[in-house]
Amino acid sequence: MPTLEHDSLVFRFPQIEKQAKFSIQFQRTLRIPDSDKTYSLPPGLGLFPVRHAEDYVSKLPQATNDRGGVILPMWQSEAMWINFENEGPDWDLEFPVAIKIAAGKINAVTGEPWKNGLQGAPQDYVVSPNQPWLDGFAVEKGVIRQFVAMPLGEGYSVEEQLTGEAEWGGLQISVAPLKASVWNKKLEAWKQAQEERKKYFANESHLVAYSYSMCESRPMGLAAGGKMRQEIYPDPYNLEDWDFSAAERVFVTLVHAKDWLGITGEAALDVPPTASEYTKADLPWFEYYGKDQIALPGGEKFGNIKSVSSIFKKTTGANLPGSGDIAIGKPIAVGPGVKCDRPIQSSKSWE
């Protein structure tokens, strides 16, 4: 079963590999402007706190208690990205997992209703370590619409737009490991490669020349925010390589940040800066460079999804604050193609 450690959901599959773990973090981030423009990656602004739902049974609705899992607070119209952290038995040997993510039980990759197991056509999951993070709903090839929290029942969430119901909200996550037989083959191949590398380095004349080319109590639902460049990568394994029977799942209930103190006794989160405030502080945006992988098409069901600002405009006649386009400088390259990770900005950066 998954555990909750330092605000991360941690999945272990010791029956397959004792030395591996896979973690999911929920990153606070800027809400990018919700317009026709497609933006680069915003930074992380630190982790959302995550708590066991069962610790607050008397403060939560019965439906949340029935679903179990965890709770996390978000402000209305706050954005999130979901980070994947993969730790294998050695620092350069990761333990692949297939991750299915849904919001309001709508699959974030395909737009289809939640189904147990994994589907290959269309692929309804992502694979870590290939996919480093997920920032939103995969609306078209190479483009996502950012995950933005809105109160459930007001018509904003993707769940309500696609099903007409405001039943689930939150996030649903399932993680499946490789089958033991497939993992053991991969492990053996890695061990052999290590042996060959040791022999290679035993010859000191190689040392100078060697270098790698890789520069490597108010339920909330998730609505579709602004557009961002982000590819969803295809599974490099076969569908039958995954061990569905070992999959673990978690329901993440999103609660309004205003209610967090009342539920948990912990202070509410600061309100995050707007994209405009962040950019005015001359702070950077990012662009991910993968390893020449092709990208999956977006979910067809997302074709008619309305964004938060367009629904807000239609319902209130006003523009959603912070939805105007902004000019950002040249984004900083991140990812396995260029060495650096997507950084987390501390609050000192914009205060």
């Binding site: 010791p14 965890v70 799942r249 060495k339 650096c340």
Partner: protein, 124 residues
């Protein structure tokens, strides 16, 4: 699981080994670049790696852990420290946690992991 009884090296040696292992494949793990990303000087990090100064404080150790892919609790323990959040947890119920830790000190890893609380799943 990290076991200190197997660990003959000091925190300085451990940090240097972790960094050099990465530097062998990625030049951005040079002393200078790692120090810059952790907001310390290269001279200071070099002295830490050579055990010439006391281990860094919690903030720097946590940054180094993130940079070098090590568990922050492992680095803090090697430095003879305990993280602020763990300290607060223990101080809130010192007798309970002292008894708990003493009672499980000889348990094998798999048995200790069994008492880590799972995230409960429900109906959905």
């Amino acid at each position: 699981m990290h076991h200190f009884e197997d660990e003959a090296s000091s925190i300085g040696d451990h940090l240097r080994k972790l960094r050099e292992k990465r530097a062998a494949q990625d030049r951005s793990f040079s002393l200078r670049q790692v120090a810059a990303r952790c907001e310390v000087t290269a001279a200071y990090l070099s002295r830490v790696e050579r055990n010439e100064v006391a281990p860094p404080g919690e903030e720097t150790l946590v940054k180094l852990a993130g940079e070098l892919g090590e568990d922050p609790d492992v680095l803090l323990a090697m430095a003879g420290k305990i993280s602020a959040d763990l300290r607060a947890i223990i101080l809130a119920r010192p007798q309970l946690f002292a008894d708990l830790i003493r009672s499980i000190k000889s348990m094998p890893d798999h048995a200790v992991l069994r008492i880590v609380r799972d995230v409960k799943d429900g109906e959905w």
